[in-house]
């Protein structure tokens, strides 16, 4: 079911992360994983919600950091799941935390995956490639390094 929005070409990926370096790294890794993909970034939840509500296009995936000012990732996930149409878009929690409690909480909140930010761009782009291709993966994704 995640593949459906990927059929829109080029696929649109949304990343919500307050850390500029992480946004840059994600952009580089995504370029390798799916050169066609169009990335929209937001540095916090409220900003992202505005973009999502206004955007005329349905994203293929939304990546959400957990530890953010104004609105944390869990609140952000809940807000996304209330938006008509957008609520069908798979949300990937993308965070430094490898906390199982957060993983459980976000799974219950309707997230598709919990991706622990890898220590390598190669690992990140491999991960993104698999997620975007719709390969069936475990919910908790942590690259061993």
């Amino acid at each position: 079911m995640y593949i459906s929005s990927m059929t829109i070409k080029p696929p649109v990926i949304v990343l919500i992360d307050d850390d500029e370096d992480d946004r840059d790294m994600f952009a580089i890794a995504l370029k390798t994983a799916e050169p066609e993909a169009k990335l929209i970034t937001a540095s916090n939840g409220p900003e992202a919600l505005k973009i999502l509500e206004a955007a005329g296009v349905l994203p293929a995936f939304i990546f959400v950091d957990l530890n953010m000012p104004f609105m944390n990732g869990i609140e952000c996930l809940a807000a996304i799941k209330k938006l008509p149409l957008i609520k069908e878009v798979p949300v990937v929690i993308y965070t430094t935390t490898s906390s199982k409690e957060y993983a459980e909480e976000t799974k219950n909140g309707g997230a598709a995956y919990f991706l622990v930010k890898p220590n390598s761009l190669y690992a990140l782009s491999d991960m993104l490639e698999q997620i975007l291709m719709g390969v069936k993966l475990d919910y908790f994704l942590q690259v061993k390094s």
Binding site: D18, D19, E20, D21, D22, M25, I28, S43, N67, P69, F70, T96, T97, S98, S99, K117, P118, N119, S120, L121, Y122, S145
Partner: protein, 398 residues
Amino acid sequence: MTMDNPNLHDNVNQDPLIKSNGTTALKGGLMESEERYHKMIDEVQDYAILLLDIEGNIQNWNKGAQQIKGYTEKEIIGKNFRIFYQEIDRLGRLPERLINEAYTNGRAAHEGWRVRSDGTMFWGSVVITALHDSDNSIIGFSKVTRDLTERKLAEDRIKEYAREIELRNKQLEEYAYIASHDLQEPLRKIQVFTEMLQNSLDNKETAQRHLEKISSSAQRMSHLIKDVLKYSQVSQKELVFTAVDLNKVLLDIKEDYVLLIEEKGVAITADGLPVVTGVPVQMHQLFSNLLGNAIKFSGVEPHIDITANVLNADDIAQYSGLSINNRYTKITFKDNGQGFDPQYADQVFKMFKRLTNNAGTGIGLALCKKIVENHAGHISVTSQPDAGTTFTIILPLA
């Protein structure tokens, strides 16, 4: 003593009640027996055993009573037993309540602090028992008191240790979380940028950029560790409170920030700050963080205004955790800087919460909150974007 004790057998054999059937002997025996009972009570040293009349006036005294409570027999006979109670218990009519309970139920038991003749305290375990005559009407009370001060202090120590261990465990959990999350972040970046650097070695400009990223991540890591350490030191239990003159504290901090203050042209007004009861180094950290924040988030023509007022009784009642027996100062720390959306006011005091992507570690205001809590005070914040931020701090006056 066991039943095999030969002395015990001798005593039993010599008992006049068993030995003799004569009336005179019986009468003499009774007197002797009463005398012995008297002696038995009199000589007991570990228990204060006394006889109270129906009003609670002391009728007799034993060695234990003298040892535990300090009064001699001459001083105390005829006095009311209320004399052994602390003033607060006398006002609360505790002695009367215990006597009433013994009167109604035949017995009253109680543990609590009692006062010796020299004014020092001991932890007494008391049993008051009603005494009846042959018509079953109450003629007085016996009162047996044990000094359990040692046990009480040991129990209190154990409770204190347990509380401390709980606190330490909570702190450990907090630091484990910090280590697993917040300290990981710059480390991960160093790893990623190193990888990027390896791939860009033939492009000097890009390589240089990655090197700078590695360096700034390492620096951030270093700041985080230092700040976490500061926070952990503030969480230590052993605090030494003294009178701290906040005017002096502010003067020192202005000295620390002198370059930034001049560079940004910050005007600071502070009128008559009070002397508070505080830990000097923590007062310094508190005001240093607040001033540092106000400078960091300053707008045009930055102005910081610090005022202090004594908190009145109505105000004290409004804050939970303040004691009406203390005097407090309410310090407002007001700037005309960038401010923030007031709906996020609660977040700013949380560990690692930053509302902007600035160079800070997100520990400064968590540290401020911890410090104010250490002083049994209160801290809150109001703010408006582009209008400025006001911190309100309540601290105990010296």
